[in-house]
Assembly symmetry: C2
């Protein structure tokens, strides 16, 4: 899937991503990197609002599953069921959120569950760095359902 | 503090709240209720985007601390350091997020820490109901700092 195709999907289906000016910096089956400017996501301290940081990591993980399932499974729903996020340092610039596919064992368990039982869950991690420092560490549980 | 005063503060300082059309339904020292329409926060499944649900609960908790500290402490910073959120059911209508002040022991420990040491942390819970059913259960840790 091309960056612009995923970006358009997000903007059309989750319109708040337009207001946040989310764009897709990289997409492959192994990794999704989303980016956004601080200007649209700023808070009272002139750093990025914690809610926007959470939205970006959620979207990166959701998108990684979406691009992997698209084409493979005719129609599926992907929803977040839980997340835990640590805000380790403020983000004071434009920023990216990166989600990489987890180890193959976890991934294959997820895919097999989905194929055999029609539903499966997976934990995905996404991170936001500020220069070389980890600023946001997000762990989300996502459920996929064949529909 | 009046509802409109808090609402204006949020809209001016965290501009994404304007795009989300967040408004303040109730504010007191004991409780904050924020509301938003689904239309601006919708996702691909025609339910409310998980990122917006997280933003709303974060803002409700942040606001509760803000209205309590305003006036009491000359100048302070309030930031979120961690959150854990459970998405128990989809939200498919306009919605509210409610944060209530926790028990007095926890609250006084927080206020004393802030007065004596200039910094303190507190865990706050916020919830979003769908009709009478708990749909979103959020637990956040917030740090306040006298500046």
């Amino acid at each position: 899937m091309q960056e612009k195709v995923l970006e358009q999907y997000l903007h059309e289906n989750i319109p708040i991503t337009q207001s946040m000016e989310v764009y897709v910096e990289h997409v492959s089956l192994l990794k999704v990197i989303l980016a956004a400017p601080i200007s649209k996501n700023i808070n009272h301290k002139k750093t990025v609002f914690g809610g926007s940081l959470h939205s970006m990591t959620t979207l990166a993980c959701w998108s990684l599953i979406y691009v992997n399932l698209k084409g493979l499974i005719e129609s599926s729903e992907i929803v977040i069921t839980h997340s835990d996020i640590q805000y380790l340092a403020p983000v004071s610039t434009d920023f990216t959120a990166t989600c990489e596919r987890p180890d193959e064992v976890a991934w294959q368990r997820f895919m097999q569950g989905l194929k055999l039982k029609g539903k499966a869950r997976i934990e995905l991690r996404a991170r936001i760095y500020q220069k070389d420092k980890l600023a946001v560490d997000f762990l989300g549980t996502f459920a996929a359902l064949k529909v």
